[in-house]
Structure formats: structure tokens, C-alpha cells
């Protein structure tokens, strides 16, 4: 048993550090320090830099332009990326639709869609949830009716993250009412510029537009945009969920946030309370630190078993729950350390670099919006309660 990197892995780590040092502009890194939002332009520029280095398809097979990295290399990349304060790759194209296309799509679809996803030429969004299909996702009602060479799609998708930037949306749609409700679901790719597609913003508790409601009214979708077979969409989506969920625990980013929190505690900016000498608060910080250390090793255990070719053990099922609990615990601590400066609501100073006049300490007014927004993490991707149902059934056999 050891947690050492091999010579090759250490060399790879160097290469990743060099990449971030040379290719990530300081102005981009400053976003994390200053709490600025990454704009769509900054994100795409970063994704293109990764593409030029050959590192865009982190989890993709080599034959489709992926890195072919080992799990340990992926872990090193995520860790260094968080340390370098890089933006995150928007997952909908890279790690959600692309694996379904290269696993279940036909040759024509692979050639048509994968290169543009890899090169960050197209922006994808996800059309799964509906106003009346959340945890019970299979109850979805968006309907695709075959009409010659097209499907006619009607219905509404919701919580569509960054859908207002998207060129394409991948959807679970109902193509049949026969049999179980899962069996009538198909996987359809829809051009967002199609007539009849409308995108309406949903403003979240942080006052921002991140998610949307996407409505389809008699939208014509060519049948060649169906992935795999009709009626198998649920299976494809499920395979993906259990398939490759690296970094789902978000350990690297939480470590970075914890380290930044200790910096604030050690040198509290003017206006922030001195919580370093508050033992009650410090005890919460240290408990988060310890839970995070345990989670890091849970993550490494999963990584190690995947590296050696064995299937991840049951411990992999807790990554989402524990990871999101820790993220939210950190959010709470940040709101508290912001003190009275948690009150000002000034989203402009985070959306526009150089916005004046700034309210200082700069991080503080962003702490509460981030906390509000991040309540989503225990809700999305299968709420934590649904995750527990899954563990009860699949791991404990209840």
C-alpha cells in the first residue's frame, strides 16, 4: 500500500503544471481569487487551449481524440487544474453527450458531432428534467412523434444549465407509451436554432441566470438525430451515469477552497470577523478538513481499483453525497467569515472585471449568493435522497 506517484506520473504532473503556467493567463486565474464568474468566452478559450494541447477529451478513448489517460493521470490533472485556478470544462458536451455518441451513436453521428465537441466549436446543454419529472425522471412527458423522416417534438425541459449559450441540446423524449415508462424513452439530439425551440431564463437565488426552461413547440427533428435505437434512451443515459464519473466528489476544488479559507482565517481582511480565535467556528473548519481528507482517500480507493482494472467497489457510491455535503459545508463557512459584508448584493462586481466602485473585502458579497446557488448540488444529478435509495438497493441489497 502506498500513495506515491511513479516516475512517469511525476513527469506528467510536471507537464500539467507547465501547461497551466504557460497557457492559463493570470487574468483567468484571478477569477477564482476575486470571485469573478467565468464568462462563456473565457470558458471556450480555455477549452480550446486544452484542445490544442490534445487534452480536451479527458475521459475519451484515444480513437476519438481522447487523452487515453490512466485514472491516476486524470486525478493529477484535476488536482493541478484546481491548484492553478483554471475554469472547469463545461461537462454537457465533453462528458455527458459525447460518451453516449461514441458508445451508442452511428459512424455518421460520431463524425458529425464529436470533432466539434472536442474542439469546443459547439456548446451543448442537457434536456432531461421536466417541470413534472425530477427525481422520477422516467415520468418525462416531452413527446417525439415520428412523421416521415422527422420527429415532431412537443414539451418542456427545465433546469437547463447554460442553455442560453447552447447550440445543441440532447434530450430524453417519449416515443412510446407501451410497456414500462422507461421503455418508451429515446435519446434525441436537437439543434437549438430549430424553429419552435424557445429558451426562457430561470433566475436562481443568487440573482443570476444559470438555468433555463426550454420549450419545444412542433419542433421538426430529422430522424438521423436519434442516437441508437428508439426506446433505449433510458438505458443509454443510465449506462453513462454509472460509467465514468471521475471527479464527481469535487475533492480537488474543495481542497483549494479550504486552503483559501485558511488564508482568510490567518489574515482576516478588514471588515471580516476574527474567527481564527473562535474555537466553535474553528472546530467546524477542522471537521470539514478531516471529512475532506477521508473523502480524498475514498476517491483514491476508487481510482486505484479502476487503475488496476477491477471494478470500483461500493465506496464509489458515496462520492456524490459526501462530496456535495462538504461543498455545502464550505459554503456555510464562507458566509460566516464574510461577516456583515455578506449583505451587499452587487453581482456586477463579479461579472465585470474592473467594475467600480468595488465593495471590499471583495470576496465577501459573493459568499451568500454562492451559498444560495450551491444548494443545487445536493439536488441535481440525482438528489442525495435518491442516491441513498440507490445505495440501499444496489449496495446493501435492501
Amino acid at each position: 500500500m502506498n500513495i506515491n506517484f511513479s516516475e512517469q506520473e511525476l513527469a506528467f504532473q510536471q507537464e500539467v503544471q507547465t501547461f497551466f503556467r504557460e497557457k492559463l493567463p493570470e487574468s483567468v486565474q484571478a477569477h477564482i481569487d476575486n470571485g469573478l464568474s467565468f464568462s462563456a468566452e473565457v470558458t471556450v478559450a480555455y477549452q480550446k487551449a486544452l484542445y490544442n494541447k490534445g487534452w480536451a477529451g479527458i475521459n475519451w478513448p484515444v480513437e476519438h481524440g481522447g487523452t487515453g489517460w490512466t485514472p491516476t493521470q486524470k486525478y493529477i490533472f484535476q488536482t493541478e487544474s484546481a491548484k492553478a485556478k483554471a475554469p472547469r470544462q463545461i461537462p454537457f458536451g465533453y462528458s455527458m453527450v459525447a460518451p453516449i455518441i461514441y458508445t451508442f451513436g452511428n459512424e455518421e453521428q460520431k463524425q458529425r458531432f464529436l470533432p466539434d465537441i472536442l474542439a469546443s466549436n459547439t456548446w451543448w446543454c442537457q434536456g432531461y428534467s421536466e417541470p413534472n419529472a425530477g427525481s422520477d425522471l422516467a415520468g418525462l412527458k416531452t413527446r417525439a412523434v415520428r412523421d416521415g423522416d422527422h420527429y415532431i417534438v412537443n414539451g418542456t425541459k427545465t433546469w437547463t444549465t447554460l442553455g442560453h449559450h447552447a447550440d445543441w441540446i440532447f434530450c430524453l423524449v417519449r416515443t412510446s407509451d407501451e410497456g414500462s415508462k422507461q421503455k418508451g424513452i429515446s435519446f434525441l439530439l436537437i439543434d437549438m436554432t430549430s424553429p419552435g425551440v424557445s429558451v426562457k431564463p430561470i433566475i436562481t437565488l443568487d440573482g443570476r441566470r444559470e438555468v433555463n426552461e426550454v420549450a419545444f413547440q412542433d419542433v421538426k427533428v430529422p430522424v438521423e438525430n436519434l442516437v441508437g435505437e428508439e426506446g433505449r434512451g433510458w438505458t443509454y443515459a443510465k449506462v453513462l451515469l454509472t460509467h465514468e464519473r471521475t471527479n464527481i466528489a469535487g475533492v480537488a476544488v474543495s481542497k483549494q477552497r479550504l486552503s483559501a479559507l485558511y488564508d482568510l482565517l490567518n489574515q482576516p481582511p478588514a471588515g471580516c470577523p476574527d474567527l481564527k480565535n473562535n474555537s466553535v467556528f474553528m472546530s467546524r473548519v477542522v471537521q470539514v478538513e478531516m471529512e475532506l481528507k477521508a473523502l480524498e482517500f475514498t476517491d483514491l480507493r476508487v481510482l486505484s481499483s479502476v487503475s488496476t482494472g477491477t471494478a470500483p467497489g461500493p465506496e464509489s457510491s458515496i462520492l456524490k453525497i459526501k462530496g456535495t455535503e462538504i461543498q455545502q459545508a464550505l459554503d456555510e463557512l464562507y458566509v460566516e467569515i464574510a461577516g456583515i459584508y455578506a449583505l451587499p448584493f452587487v453581482p456586477e462586481q463579479y461579472d465585470e472585471a474592473g467594475y467600480e466602485p468595488r465593495i471590499e473585502p471583495f470576496f465577501a458579497p459573493n459568499a451568500a449568493p454562492h451559498y444560495y446557488n450551491n444548494r443545487k448540488v445536493t439536488i441535481y444529478g440525482g438528489s442525495n435522497e435518491i442516491q441513498k435509495n440507490i445505495i440501499a438497493k444496489q449496495v446493501l441489497g435492501l
Partner: protein, 378 residues
């Protein structure tokens, strides 16, 4: 990076797992626990034959040169049987102290006997005023003629009843305030003992030393680093034991709720009980992960940086295991209903052991408080 077991670890896991499964069921364990000796001497000889007693000792003295990860593997399996044999005292505490702090002559004289199963030891550290703080020691060593003697009182010395020799922490005979370790014959003149059973089925004793002949362990009268290293290993050992106990409690609880019917259905079909068991499962896994971190770190090396990291890791581990053990233990009892609070069922005894483990070597809140103070001082 590699979390797989090596050959020796696999052998330890297999042999200990087999022993607990075949020869150490709950009724047998209770019989040993209630016997006059408090454990089985035959088992002890078997431990020697299987090489378990040789684990932490250097090869030159007949040991296996094992480190904290090896200890973790063995103790996780033994934990599942709630063993009452004095392994922790003889091997992990006192034997380990001799291995780490003793002179070559002392190791030559003692380790062979430990490995062979002839010599049992106990570690006398804490006193009434020290609570759980090993740096609070009043027992005093002093010179008497050509030798050394000890005077003082030790509290709750695990397995002292069966020990042939004691390793005792005391203030140095050089009167410099250092804490040193001394070797004492358990039956020496001037040793008065009050033996009693513990809540978790083992034995412990209060000891009074009155001018008891003693020998300094090692060449140095400053044993602080040796004691800390021994405690780190001991925390790995009892935490591994706790993880084994928790695994077994979770499995027992899942099994019980599947067969226990109320309202005409197995109670395992109730979602709130399912989520309670998932919470147990998550705590088991997080505790196991912390155990891996700590065992790998503590077995890591002796540089100043590595020792600092090891000391941190043992505190993290003791906190996490304390927290997990409380949730897993309490929930297992709750889900067993009335049966969970009977003396008859093993689950209650696992709960007792977990609860006592939290009190050993600093409870979770003591470690948490120490960590907070360290960060405040940084």
C-alpha cells in the same frame, strides 16, 4: 498509488479471517471473556504460531518487520471477533515500545519471548490526574543503591493481570522532568494490583508501585518520541479493530432488518431504515478511507515532516473513527430494537467495544480540540 494488499498482508487477512470465522464465534468469545484468565492461552499460542505476535518486530530479533498498514490489516479482521486476547498491550503498546526504544540487549532478551508467546506485557502510562494526557505523569523513578526504583500509581492498565512484565512511563531518575520508559517485573516486590473487568469484556488494573526495582528502557531518558510513535500505531490498531467491528455491525443490521417482520413486511422495506443503514455504510467507508490514509502515513518514515504528518494523521483517524463508531453503533442497536439492548446478542457487545475504543488514546473531542489549538497557534 496502490491500495492492494501485498502477499504478507493477504496472508494476515486470510489467516485472521479464517480464525475468527471458524474458532471465535460470539459464544466462544464470551466464554473466554468470563474465564478466570479473561482470554484463551491456547489462542495466544496459536497467535504465536501464525506469526501475528511477530508483526512489528525487526527481523533480526525474529520479527516480521511489519508496519502500520500490516497492523491495520490484521486488526481489522481480529476486530470482527471482538478478541479479548492481550494483543494490543503485549504487541502494539509494550512490545512496540521495546522495539522502538529498547537497547539491542533488551530487544535480544525480550522480543524472542514475545514472538514465541511466552512473554506477555502491559503498558502502564496513564494516571488519575492525567486523564487521557500521557504527558501528565507523576510516577517518579529514582536511584537506589546501584539500581533504579519506581514510586507512583497507574490507572486502568490494560491486560496487566496477565502481564509478566510492564513498560512504565515515569519521570526520569535524572530528575530532569523528562518522561522515560522503565521495565518492571509485574510480580516484583512493591507492585500492588487491583484487577477488574472492563465494559468491553477485557481486563484492566490499577497498579501501585512502592520502591519497585526498575530498568531504564533504552539508553535515553527522554521517551517522548517513542511514546508518540507507539500511540500512533495503537490508534491505527484500535481504529482498524473498530472498522472491522463496524463492518460486521452493518452486515448484521442489514441481515436482521430483512428477516424481522412488522406490519406484515420486513422492516428493511421502510425507507427511513434504509437511509439509516446507508448512513452507517457511508460512515464505515469514510472511516476506512481515513484508516488507509493514517496507516499509510504513519508507516511512512522518520523525517521530521513525516513524523508531523503521522501525528496529524493519527488525530484525524481517532476523530473520524470516534464519530463513525458512535453513529454506526447507536444505529445498529436502534434498528435491532429491544434485541439490541440485550446481553444475549453480539450486536450490543460490538456497541460496547466501539464505545470503549473512543475513550482510548484520546476521545474524538480531545483530538478535535487539539487540532483546533494547533491551527490557532499556526
Amino acid at each position: 498509488m496502490d491500495f492492494a494488499l501485498n502477499d504478507i498482508q493477504q496472508m494476515l487477512k486470510d489467516s485472521a479471517g479464517k480464525f475468527i470465522h471458524n474458532d471465535y464465534d460470539f459464544e466462544t468469545r464470551q466464554k473466554y471473556s468470563h474465564s478466570e484468565l479473561g482470554y484463551s492461552e491456547d489462542n495466544w499460542q496459536l497467535f504465536a504460531e501464525l506469526g501475528w505476535l511477530a508483526l512489528p518486530f525487526a527481523e533480526e530479533f525474529g520479527g516480521l518487520d511489519g508496519n502500520a498498514t500490516d497492523l491495520m490489516v490484521l486488526m481489522t479482521e481480529l476486530g470482527k471477533g471482538l478478541i479479548v486476547e492481550p494483543y494490543l498491550s503485549t504487541v502494539v503498546l509494550a512490545g512496540n515500545a521495546i522495539q522502538r526504544g529498547g537497547t539491542a540487549e533488551q530487544k535480544e532478551a525480550l522480543i524472542g519471548g514475545i514472538v514465541g508467546g511466552e512473554l506477555k506485557l502491559a503498558f502502564a502510562g496513564l494516571e488519575a490526574q492525567s486523564a487521557t494526557d500521557i504527558s501528565s505523569i507523576n510516577t517518579q523513578a529514582s536511584t537506589a543503591g546501584s539500581g533504579l526504583v519506581l514510586n507512583g500509581k497507574k490507572q486502568v492498565v490494560l491486560h496487566a493481570q496477565s502481564a509478566d512484565k510492564l513498560v512504565v512511563a515515569a519521570r526520569s531518575h535524572n530528575n530532569n522532568g523528562n518522561i522515560a520508559l522503565y521495565l518492571v517485573d509485574a510480580n516484583a516486590e512493591g507492585v500492588a494490583a487491583h484487577h477488574y473487568p472492563t465494559n468491553d469484556g477485557a481486563r484492566a488494573s490499577d497498579l501501585t508501585f512502592t520502591n519497585v526495582a526498575a530498568e531504564l528502557l533504552g539508553d535515553s531518558d527522554d521517551a517522548a518520541a517513542v511514546i508518540q510513535a507507539v500511540l500512533n500505531d495503537a490508534i491505527v490498531a484500535v481504529s482498524a479493530e473498530a472498522v472491522g467491528v463496524m463492518d460486521k455491525m452493518l452486515a448484521a443490521t442489514v441481515e436482521y432488518t430483512k428477516v424481522r417482520k412488522q406490519f406484515d413486511v420486513p422492516i428493511s422495506t421502510f425507507q427511513i431504515l434504509q437511509h439509516n443503514m446507508v448512513d452507517m455504510f457511508m460512515e464505515c467507508e469514510q472511516a476506512r478511507s481515513m484508516l488507509y490514509y493514517a496507516a499509510i502515513t504513519i508507516g511512512g518514515g522518520n523525517s521530521e515532516e513525516q513524523v508531523a504528518e503521522a501525528n496529524k494523521a493519527s488525530q484525524f483517524l481517532k476523530w473520524k473513527v470516534g464519530q463513525a463508531a458512535r453513529l454506526v453503533g447507536q444505529t445498529a442497536v436502534q434498528l435491532h430494537g429491544g434485541m439490541g439492548v440485550t446481553d444475549e446478542l453480539d450486536v450490543g457487545h460490538m456497541f460496547k467495544r466501539l464505545t470503549m475504543i473512543n475513550t482510548l488514546f484520546g476521545s474524538m473531542d480531545i483530538h478535535l480540540d487539539n487540532l483546533v489549538k494547533q491551527r490557532q497557534a499556526a
